[in-house]
C-alpha cells in the first residue's frame, strides 16, 4: 500500500558487535586481556592497535583487572556539593582500594566517572553497573559488608525513584500518563507517513536532546532519500551532567519511546532500529529488552509490524561504554559501528549517510516519546499545553541546591521563577541550564520564560535541553568551572586541536584563579580563548565546552573582579616562589 517500504535487509558487519564482545570480556573477567585483543583483531581482520584504540576510547573498559566489584562514584558537580569527598573517604576505608585502583585482594575496584544520571539521588555510585543512591558513610559500610558476605549486587542495589515532582496540574501530563501498548501504532494506517510529518510540523516538535532541530524536517529529509535500508536510532546516551529525564522516561514508559521509533520507521521507511543506551543505564537494559520482546510477541515489531503489510522493522539495543561525546549523533553512529566514538565531519549528514553509510534518523528518547504521545492524544490536545510557537510540555531534570530535586514536566512558557519556586530552590545564585554546555542563568533573569523559540517573545528565552542545576551562593564559581573544564578535558574525543588542547589550557588558566595568581589579563585570555574554541572546534562538544565559562565571565563580572589582581605599573606578574621551590625543599639535609 505504500511505496515507502523497501525490505532490504540491513546486514550488520561483524564489527558492529565489537562493543558487545568487549563488554562480555569486561563483565565476566573484570578486564580485557591481551589474548582477547588478539582474538578480536583476528576475528575482525584488523590490526591490534585498532582494537586497543577502541578499548582505550571508552573509560569503562579496562585492560587490567578492575576488581570483582567495580565501583564508579559520580564526580559531577552535583555530587561534589552533596558530599562527594566524604563518600570517597568511606569507600576507601571500607574497601581498602584507592581511587583509580583495585584493593590488594582484587575484590574492589574504585573509580570515578562523570554524571551517572542520578543527580536527584546524590551522592550516588554504580557497583557492577547497578545503581546505589543517596549514599552516606553508614550505608556504604553496610553495602560493602554485604558484598563481602557474598550477597549478589543486584539484590542490594537501589531502585532509583522516578521523583516526578510536577506535571501540569489542571491539564494533566503528556509524558507521564499510562501508555497503552500499540496506541500510537494503531493510528499509522490512517495517518500514513504524510500525516505523521504533518502532525509533527503542526506541533513544531523539535529535537529534545538540546539541539532543537525541527523533527519533521529531519524525518522529511530521510523520507526523500531513496537509498535503502534506512535506520532509526534512539539516542539514549544522556551524558550531559545534571540530566536524567531520559532515564526517568525509560523507567516510566519505555513503550512510548519504542513506539515513537516504530512511528519514525514507518514514516521514513526504515527497517532497522537501534537504541544506543549509555552504559551508566545498563541496569535498564533488561527491562527494555523485555518490552521489546513483548512488542515482538504482539506483532508490533518484526515482520508486518503492527499488522501493516510489508512493514518490517526491529530494534536492537547497543550499550555504550562510557563516553560523553557519543551523545553527539555522528559519534554515536561511529560507536555503534564498533569504532572509536569520534564525531564525523559534516561532509554528509546522518540522514544522507549515517549508520553503516545508510540514511539514518537519530533522535533523543524524549523526542520519540513525544512523537508517540502526539499521535496518541492528537495535535490539538498537545497544543493545548504551552504557548504559541512553543506548544506542549518539556521534561526537565532539576538538581543541586533545592528541596525537591527530580523531574518537572512543565509547559513551555513557564518562567524560571515558577520552576525555581516549584522545586524549592534554596538561595539560587548560579543556575546552570542544560548542563555545562548550556547557559548560565542568574536569579536576575527569573522572569525569563523557558521556551523553544524566541520569535514570539521577541526577547530572551531559556531553551532548556533538559536540565536545571542550581548552585547557591556558598558554591565557588571557580570550583564549578574547574569541574566542568576537567570534564571536557577528559571527555573530548581528542582529534581536533582547539577542543583537545583548549580544554586542557582553560583548566590550567582556571587553576591560576584558584591559586590566587590571576590578573585582569587572565580574564581577557579566558574570554578570547573560549571564543576561539567555540568558533573553531570540530563538533558541538568543543563549540559548547566553554559556554558556562563565557556566561560566568559575562554575568558574574563582580566575582571575577574580586578574584584577580589589578595590573599595576611594575609589570611584574604574580609568581608563587614558595610553591615553585617546594619540590626542591625536600632535599634540605
Amino acid at each position: 500500500m505504500n511505496s515507502n517500504y523497501n525490505n532490504t535487509f540491513l546486514q550488520e558487519p561483524p564489527r558492529t558487535k565489537m562493543l558487545d564482545r568487549l563488554w562480555a570480556f569486561q563483565h565476566t573477567k573484570g578486564y580485557i586481556s591481551d589474548a582477547d585483543v588478539t582474538m578480536l583483531a583476528k576475528e575482525y581482520d584488523i590490526s591490534e592497535v585498532e582494537v586497543e584504540g577502541v578499548i582505550s576510547f571508552y573509560h569503562f573498559f579496562h585492560r587490567k583487572p578492575a576488581g570483582k566489584y567495580t565501583i564508579y562514584v559520580n564526580k559531577s558537580m552535583t555530587s561534589q556539593i552533596k558530599g562527594f569527598n566524604r563518600i570517597i573517604e568511606a569507600f576507601e576505608r571500607e574497601t581498602n582500594a584507592r581511587v583509580g585502583s583495585v584493593d590488594p585482594t582484587g575484590t574492589f575496584g574504585l573509580f570515578l566517572t562523570p554524571c551517572i544520571g542520578l543527580s536527584d539521588h546524590e551522592p550516588a555510585a554504580l557497583i557492577n553497573f547497578y545503581p546505589f543512591t543517596n549514599l552516606n558513610s553508614l550505608k556504604i559500610r553496610e553495602i560493602i559488608t554485604r558484598l563481602k558476605e557474598g550477597v549478589p549486587v543486584q539484590e542490594i542495589c537501589d531502585e532509583p525513584e522516578q521523583h516526578i515532582q510536577f506535571t501540569p496540574a489542571l491539564k494533566g501530563s503528556i509524558f507521564f500518563t499510562k501508555f497503552k501498548i500499540g496506541s500510537a501504532i494503531s493510528k499509522l494506517a490512517t495517518l500514513e507517513p504524510k500525516g505523521v510529518i504533518k502532525s509533527l510540523r503542526e506541533t513544531k516538535l523539535s529535537g529534545r536532546g538540546g539541539a532543537f532541530y525541527p523533527t519533521w524536517m529531519k524525518w522529511q529529509a530521510a523520507v526523500d532519500e531513496d537509498n535503502f535500508p534506512k535506520v532509526v536510532i534512539c539516542n539514549a546516551d544522556e551524558g550531559e551532567p545534571g540530566t536524567f529525564k531520559d532515564r526517568v522516561l525509560m523507567q516510566n514508559s519505555p513503550e512510548s519511546m519504542i513506539e515513537g521509533m516504530i512511528v519514525c520507521a514507518f514514516t521514513i521507511g526504515a527497517s532497522f532500529g537501534l537504541i544506543y543506551l549509555r552504559a551508566e543505564y545498563t541496569w535498564l537494559k533488561d527491562r527494555i529488552e523485555k518490552v521489546l520482546e513483548n512488542y515482538r510477541k504482539k506483532g508490533l515489531l518484526g515482520e508486518n509490524c503492527g499488522g501493516i503489510t510489508d512493514f518490517n522493522f526491529d530494534i536492537r539495543i547497543q550499550v555504550g561504554a562510557g563516553s560523553y561525546v557519543c551523545g553527539e549523533e555522528t559519534a554515536l553512529i561511529e560507536s555503534a559501528e564498533g569504532k572509536r566514538g569520534e564525531p564525523r565531519t559534516r561532509w554528509f549528514y546522518p540522514v544522507q549517510k549515517g549508520y553503516l553509510q545508510q540514511p539514518t534518523v537519530v533522535n533523543n528518547v524524549e523526542t520519540f516519546c513525544a512523537v508517540a504521545r502526539i499521535l496518541n492524544i492528537g495535535t490539538e490536545k498537545y497544543l493545548e499545553f504551552g504557548v504559541p510557537q512553543s506548544g506542549g510540555t518539556k521534561v526537565i531534570s532539576v538538581s543541586g541546591d533545592c528541596k525537591k530535586p527530580g523531574i518537572y514536566e512543565i509547559e513551555w512558557g513557564t518562567t524560571l521563577k515558577e520552576l525555581l519556586d516549584l522545586c524549592g530552590a534554596e538561595d539560587p545564585y548560579y543556575i546552570q541550564e542544560s548542563g555545562p554546555s548550556g547557559t548560565v542563568v542568574t536569579p536576575d533573569e527569573e522572569e525569563v520564560p523557558i521556551a523553544m523559540f524566541s520569535e514570539f517573545y521577541n526577547k530572551q528565552h531559556i531553551r532548556c535541553g533538559g536540565a536545571i542545576t542550581i548552585f547557591n551562593k556558598s558554591r565557588d564559581i571557580i570550583d564549578i568551572l574547574l569541574n566542568y573544564a576537567d570534564f571536557y578535558k577528559q571527555e573530548a574525543c581528542g582529534i581536533c586541536t582547539p577542543c583537545r588542547a583548549g580544554n586542557f589550557i582553560i583548566e590550567r588558566k582556571l587553576e591560576r584563579f584558584k591559586n590566587g595568581l590571576a590578573n585582569q589579563d587572565d580574564v581577557k585570555d579566558l574570554q578570547d580563548w573560549s571564543l576561539l574554541m567555540r568558533t573553531t572546534s570540530r563538533c558541538g562538544l568543543g563549540k559548547t565546552a566553554t559556554n558556562s565559562l563565557m556566561n560566568a565571565l559575562e554575568k558574574f563580572g563582580d566575582y571575577f573582579e574580586q578574584h584577580v589582581h589589578v595590573n599595576d605599573k611594575s609589570k611584574s606578574l604574580k609568581f608563587d616562589l614558595e610553591e615553585a621551590t617546594r619540590d626542591f625543599e625536600q632535599f634540605r639535609n
Partner: protein, 424 residues
C-alpha cells in the same frame, strides 16, 4: 566536463570547478590558507587540525571540509581570521613538546613552517609540558609522541598491503596519542615506511637510519616563504632616521647557554656603529654585576630555572624600560624546559645520584643556603614579568636582533626576512 561555478574569496571573483576542495581552489588562486591535516587524496577530508578555519557564507568553518559551490562567499584574510588561525598553530606548539633545535625534522617540518609563515614568535597559551613517551619498540620506526599534533594523516593513509591500520588513535581527551602496531609496522615495505615519515607534518614518525639531515640553509623551509603575501603586511624600512640619542642597554643570561649573546656579537661590523651610540650597563659583556642606573633596553636570554633567575629577572624589569626576550629559552623555556615533563626530584636524582660518573655511596644532591633553590620547572620569562618583545631562534639570527635593537632604540621600522626568522 565538470561544471564551473562562481565563488568569491575576499571580494575577488573566482571561477572554479564545482565540488573541488576549497583549500585547493584558494591556494591555486594565490591565497594563503595554512593547513596541516589536509592532503589531497583523502576523502572525506579529515578536518582535524582546524588551521584552515575561515568564514564561509558568513560562518566560521574549516576550508578543507568545504566543496566549492555556486555563489559561495569566502573570507580568508580579515584580521580576526588571521588571528584565529595563528592561535590554533600556537596551540599546537603549547600542547606538544616541540624542541626544534633537537628535532631531526627541523627545517623540513610543516608545523614549524606554518609558525614561520605566520610569524609566531611566542605562543599566547601556556606550554602544557605533558609527559609523553617516545616509543622505540617498533623495529623500524620511532614514534616521538612529544611532537605529534594528532592530525590523523598516518592513521588513515598508512595501511599494510592487506589493508590493516598501522597507526590508530589511543585514549581520548588530553590523553589522546597515536599508537603504532609493531606487528603491522614490520609488514610495511621500506617505501611505505618512508612514506609514513614523509606525510607526518612534524617529526613524530621517524624511520631509523633514514636521516632527514641537510645542512642549515638547504632544508625545505629555510630560505623562502611560500606565502604570496609574506612581505605585504611587513613594514618596510623607513629612511627618515631620527637623530639617534645615546642609550643604555643591559643584558643577562638566565637559564641559557650564552649562545644568544654570541649571536648578538655576530652582528659583526655593526658593532662599531653600536659602540658609539650605546653604553652597556649590567651585562656579562662589561662584567658590571649590579645596575648603576635605569636602562633603556634589557636583553634577556634564558628562562627561569632557579630563584636567583626570578630575582634577576624582576630586577631587570624594574631597571629597564623595555625588556626583550631573546631566544627560545627566554620565550618559553627552550631546551632546559625538557625537564619540565618530569618531577624535579627525578631530574636531580638522575643528575647527581644515578649518573655514570657518580661514586656509589658518595653522592649528594647539593643543597646549601648559598645556593639558589631550583624551581619545580623552568619558567618562561613572561610567566614572571611582562615582556615587551620576543625574538625567536636558537640562537636568534644576528640580523633579527640587530633590526629589533635598532627599532627599539631609534624607532626604525624594519621587516624581518623569512630566512631570519627561525626556531633553531
Amino acid at each position: 566536463m565538470a561544471k564551473h561555478v562562481n565563488i568569491t574569496i575576499d571580494g575577488r571573483n573566482i571561477l572554479a570547478k564545482e565540488g573541488r576542495n576549497l583549500v585547493d581552489v584558494a591556494k591555486e588562486n594565490g591565497f594563503f590558507i595554512p593547513s596541516l591535516c589536509y592532503f589531497d587524496h583523502i576523502d572525506p577530508p579529515l578536518g582535524t587540525c582546524r588551521t584552515c578555519t575561515c568564514k564561509i557564507n558568513g560562518k566560521h568553518g574549516p576550508a578543507c571540509t568545504e566543496k566549492v559551490r555556486e555563489g559561495m562567499t569566502v573570507e580568508i584574510n580579515d584580521n580576526e581570521l588571521k588571528d584565529i588561525r595563528k592561535a590554533i598553530v600556537e596551540m599546537m606548539f603549547a600542547e606538544g613538546n616541540h624542541f626544534c633545535p633537537s628535532c631531526e625534522k627541523s627545517g623540513n617540518c610543516d608545523l614549524q613552517h606554518m609558525g614561520y609563515e605566520m610569524g609566531i614568535a611566542i605562543s599566547r597559551f601556556p606550554h602544557l609540558f605533558k609527559d609523553r613517551l617516545i616509543d622505540y619498540n617498533a623495529k623500524r620506526m620511532v614514534m616521538e609522541h612529544n611532537r605529534c599534533i594528532k592530525c590523523m594523516r598516518c592513521v588513515v593513509d598508512v595501511k599494510t598491503d592487506d589493508n590493516k591500520q598501522v597507526f590508530s588513535y589511543q585514549n581520548r581527551g588530553n590523553e589522546t596519542y597515536v599508537g603504532i602496531d609493531y606487528e603491522q609496522e614490520a609488514k610495511l615495505t621500506h617505501e611505505q615506511a618512508i612514506h609514513a615519515m614523509n606525510i607526518c607534518p612534524t617529526g613524530a614518525i621517524m624511520v631509523r637510519g633514514e636521516s632527514l639531515g641537510k645542512p642549515f640553509g638547504e632544508r625545505k623551509f629555510d630560505q623562502f616563504s611560500t606565502r604570496p603575501d609574506y612581505y605585504d603586511s611587513a613594514v618596510k624600512s623607513n629612511n627618515n632616521k631620527k637623530k639617534p640619542k645615546p642609550k643604555t642597554i643591559a643584558t643577562v643570561s638566565l637559564a641559557g647557554c650564552f649562545g644568544c649573546h654570541m649571536s648578538l656579537l655576530d652582528i659583526d661590523t655593526n658593532l662599531l656603529d653600536l659602540v658609539e651610540l650605546i653604553s652597556f650597563d649590567k651585562s656579562p659583556l662589561t662584567d658590571i654585576k649590579n645596575f648603576t642606573k635605569q636602562c633603556d633596553v634589557g636583553i634577556v636570554e634564558g628562562g627561569c630555572c632557579n630563584e636567583e633567575n626570578v630575582e634577576t629577572l624582576r630586577a631587570f624589569r624594574e631597571k629597564c624600560d623595555l625588556l626583550v626576550a631573546v631566544g627560545e629559552c627566554a620565550i618559553w623555556g627552550g631546551l632546559p624546559a625538557m625537564r619540565n615533563t618530569m618531577p624535579l626530584g627525578e631530574c636531580l636524582e638522575e643528575a647527581f645520584l644515578n649518573c655514570v660518573t657518580s661514586e656509589p655511596g658518595n653522592t649528594v644532591i647539593p643543597y646549601h643556603e648559598d645556593l639558589p633553590k631550583m624551581l619545580d620547572r623552568v619558567y618562561a620569562c613572561n610567566e614572571v614579568v611582562k615582556i615587551d618583545y620576543f625574538i625567536p631562534g636558537c640562537p636568534p639570527d644576528a640580523q633579527h636582533i640587530w633590526k629589533a635593537v635598532r627599532n627599539l632604540l631609534w624607532d626604525e621600522n624594519y621587516s624581518v626576512l623569512y630566512s631570519e626568522f627561525k626556531y633553531d
